[in-house]
């Protein structure tokens, strides 16, 4: 769930203006694939106009660290339920600016053809 943090401003100045200096989203990333969000400001029950904010991800690179070749197939075999050597895992590293690792990023595996087209897009 993405929400706004520090969403209550200070008091207005003599010009009736107020600057929100640390307004931010609670988590990074898009929501349901959308990068656009609408923000509406309200003061004493009076709403201002909608403003559009476009969120850009901090993700710069998704590195494959390890992708197994042989992936076990679930068929109800007990072998999959056991501590079997057939269990495999991929390792992915998510990097931001300056190659800095990013914590708390959601990684989604997608089956694709060699062209990069998702299998379910066929």
């Amino acid at each position: 769930m993405k929400h706004l943090e520090n969403a209550v401003s200070g008091t207005t100045d003599a010009n009736g203006e107020v600057t929100m200096t640390d307004l931010q989203f609670s988590v990074a990333g898009t929501t349901s694939g959308s990068r656009e969000f609408k923000i509406k400001y309200v003061c004493d029950g009076v709403y201002g106009p909608l403003s559009t904010v476009t969120v850009s991800t901090s993700v710069q690179e998704v590195q494959l660290r390890l992708v197994p070749v042989n992936v076990p197939v679930l068929t109800g075999s007990t072998a999959l339920n056991s501590e079997s050597a057939s269990q495999v895992a991929a390792s992915v590293r998510v990097l931001g600016a300056n190659k800095a690792p990013l914590v708390g990023k959601f990684v989604k595996p997608v089956l694709v053809y060699s062209s990069g087209t998702a299998v379910n897009a066929q």
Partner: protein
């Protein structure tokens, strides 16, 4: 590394591909930016249909995609056949709760229905899968440790590439039903209720759970009806398992003395997320013998732990690296209200050495605990000196042994305990080095150097069969096939030592006046190259998992080498040694090339690379003398070996692997 489990769930029919999008189970990266993504192909009824297509993986984060992986292959497992009613689906009646606690029973109720949606009686439904979080590739890494309770003491340690089969923090069921996995049979109303409980889980995670029905009498695989997939948040009351109060370091336990069984009391404490003890939890353990080597470190921090140890260069592998086991005795009531649990552990492999264990409570793993089992051997003495060929017996009339051959006179040594009594049933190791390498440690023959001093300068252990036969009742351990398998032409002295002995143990050297002399090749050449290799040592690119060539046969003409194969990838050399004691247990018995324990597969970038090829014949055999003579007048030797299917796994796109045949080589 952190992350949550996910099943890559999709459906493939036998003849065509249809696909349901992967479940959107979030996988979060840890502070290091890494996420571990367990993979399984779900509902894949026919892996051949999948494998006929070039299917790969991509990972998306916030709309940013990784590169496309190499092709993945579905590996299908068969399901035992049982007669099943014509059910087609397990309809959800009552899903499992959204959140369950480890070791607490929960249930799911389904209705087995046929193609018309009518209740189906007698349908066996089994919980078949849980998404799992584990740390699979922590398995192979260089590791070393030792034990001493004293400070400022140099000790001999065992070290090596430790292969842990331990899976960390996996979801598992409390065993139930005839297969060990929760199951039940539907009644006349089609209803089937399955009760189950989690036996282990990560400290936090979400399990993906599927219920399947068995195959039919005519179909061995796969299951022929399925439930929906359920996601269950699993709460684990256990968050930390301490061994001897060590939470984040390798914990020492205690030493034992051979030949008495090694039995020890191990203090365990099980804690929740607030640091409070968890009551009523028992633990399990798995233990490995750590392949040893000769090394040392100066232990001076005064604490009985070794998390930051770094021994000097290893000299020789030792020990079989086999799985061993530990027998645990613990109160049936488990940990006390403060989380304390003292277990009695008996090591099951009756030979001194270095052992490593982890303890598991509700799926939460402790740090690696180390048991150092001291040998009773305090000293050794040479009974029979090694000797190379007798004068006039070699090709050149010199006292030399060609690489790949055993010394003419096999040495024997006697093992003694601290009281000077012979020790039976123990092994001796041997290495050799030039006098130059041994300089500074062999000047005073009256006082042989202690092992730590010896290891300050690397000793090239290039002897073939390095382990003696076990010592007899008189404490005499004999070598039967000791000989050089690698190294430069030259004369050497043989060093005999015994691992896991007392730290004051002295290394013994063969007589300096009678060195063993070995002969290596001056040149070598390879008659045939595997396909996709343009020349020896040249990199080549092929698909991961793709066999380079079947039945590759290479014939070597060389003067005094033993043929060896190596796959080189950036910072690693992996090669099969002719010595069984350095096989990875993973490959043992298959005669497959694998990692030499001298060279961990755990790379600096944490990418594991494996490769395999089946040796058909001829690998690492001694050279055969031919009648051919080089232009320089050297005798030509030949060695031929055949491999079947060189292939590798777990590389990344663009990786280049180099196949090399090694001739003269110094490790």
């Amino acid at each position: 590394m952190s992350g949550f489990a996910v099943a890559v769930v999709h459906r493939f029919a036998a003849a065509s591909i249809s696909y349901d999008a992967p479940e959107g189970v979030p996988l979060t990266t840890g502070v290091d930016g890494l996420a571990s993504v367990p993979l399984v192909l779900n509902y894949l009824r026919n892996s051949s249909a999948f494998n006929a297509s070039d299917i790969r993986l991509r990972f998306d984060v916030d709309g940013v995609s990784s590169v496309v992986s190499n092709r993945i292959i579905g590996v299908q497992r068969s399901l035992p056949s049982t007669t099943a009613p014509p059910c087609v689906y397990l309809r959800t009646v009552t899903p499992p709760p959204a959140s369950v606690v480890v070791n607490q029973t929960f249930s799911v109720q389904l209705m087995a229905v046929d193609a018309q949606g009518l209740p189906c009686a007698g349908a066996r439904a089994r919980v078949a899968f849980l998404g799992e979080v584990f740390d699979l590739y922590v398995g192979q890494r260089a590791w070393q440790g030792a034990l001493t309770a004293a400070t400022n003491t140099r000790v001999v340690v065992a070290c090596g590439c430790l292969s842990f089969p331990f899976q960390q923090q996996v979801f598992k069921f409390v065993p139930s039903g005839p297969t060990g996995y929760p199951e039940a049979v539907s009644g006349a109303d089609g209803l089937v209720t399955i009760h189950m409980a989690m036996a282990s889980a990560p400290v936090a995670g979400t399990a993906s759970l599927v219920v399947v029905g068995p195959g039919t009498a005519s179909s061995l695989s796969p299951a022929n009806y399925y439930s929906d997939s359920f996601r269950v948040q699993v709460v684990n009351p256990v968050q930390q398992v301490l061994v001897g109060s060590h939470a984040n370091t390798v914990a020492f336990i205690q030493a034992g003395e051979f030949p008495a069984n090694l039995t020890m009391q191990v203090p365990i404490r099980i804690l929740d997320g607030d640091g409070n003890g968890v009551k009523g939890v028992t633990v399990s353990t798995k233990m490995l013998g750590v392949p040893g080597c000769m090394s040392y470190f100066t232990y001076n921090d005064g604490n009985p732990q070794a998390s930051t140890l770094s021994g000097d260069q290893l000299v020789t592998p030792y020990g079989d690296g086999q799985n061993t086991y530990a027998t645990l005795t613990q109160p049936a009531t488990g940990s006390d209200p403060n989380g304390f649990l003292t277990i009695t552990m008996q090591v099951g492999q009756s030979y001194p050495g270095l052992y490593a264990a982890v303890f598991d409570a509700f799926g939460v793993r402790s740090v690696v605990a180390v048991v150092y089992w001291l040998s009773p051997v305090a000293s050794i003495e040479i009974v029979r000196q090694p000797a190379t060929w007798a004068p006039g017996d070699s090709e050149d009339g010199d006292q030399v042994t060609m690489l790949g051959n055993a010394f003419l006179t096999q040495p024997a040594v006697r093992l003694l305990d601290a009281d000077g009594d012979p020790v039976e049933g123990m092994f001796v190791n041997a290495a050799f080095g030039t006098d130059g390498l041994l300089a500074g440690v062999t000047e005073d023959t009256a006082e042989a150097p202690v092992l730590p001093d010896l290891v300050r300068d690397p000793i090239h252990n290039l002897l073939g069969t390095r382990l003696s036969e076990p010592s007899d009742a008189n404490g005499v351990a004999r070598f039967t096939q000791l000989g050089p398998f690698d190294g430069l032409t030259g004369c050497y002295r043989v060093a005999f030592f015994h691992l896991y002995a007392d730290p004051d143990f002295k290394v013994v050297f063969s007589d300096a006046s009678q060195p063993v002399c070995v002969r290596n090749a001056d040149t070598y050449s390879i008659h045939s190259q595997p396909s996709k290799v343009t020349s020896n040592g040249s990199p080549f690119v092929t698909g991961v998992g793709t066999s380079v060539q079947r039945d590759y046969v290479s014939t070597f003409d060389a003067a005094g080498i033993v043929a060896r194969l190596a796959m080189v990838d950036r910072y690693i050399n992996v090669f099969r040694s002719p010595h069984p004691e350095v096989y990875s247990p993973l490959y043992e018995g298959n005669y497959v090339y694998g990692s030499n324990l001298l060279t961990p597969l755990y790379l600096d970038n944490n990418v594991c690379v494996y490769f395999g090829a089946t040796v058909v014949e001829g690998d690492c055999t001694a050279l055969q003398r031919t009648s051919a003579v080089t232009a320089e007048g050297d005798t030509v030797y030949t060695s031929t070996f055949t491999m079947n299917g060189i292939a590798w796994d777990n590389a990344l796109p663009g990786d280049e692997l180099t196949l090399r045949i090694f001739g003269p080589l110094v490790l």
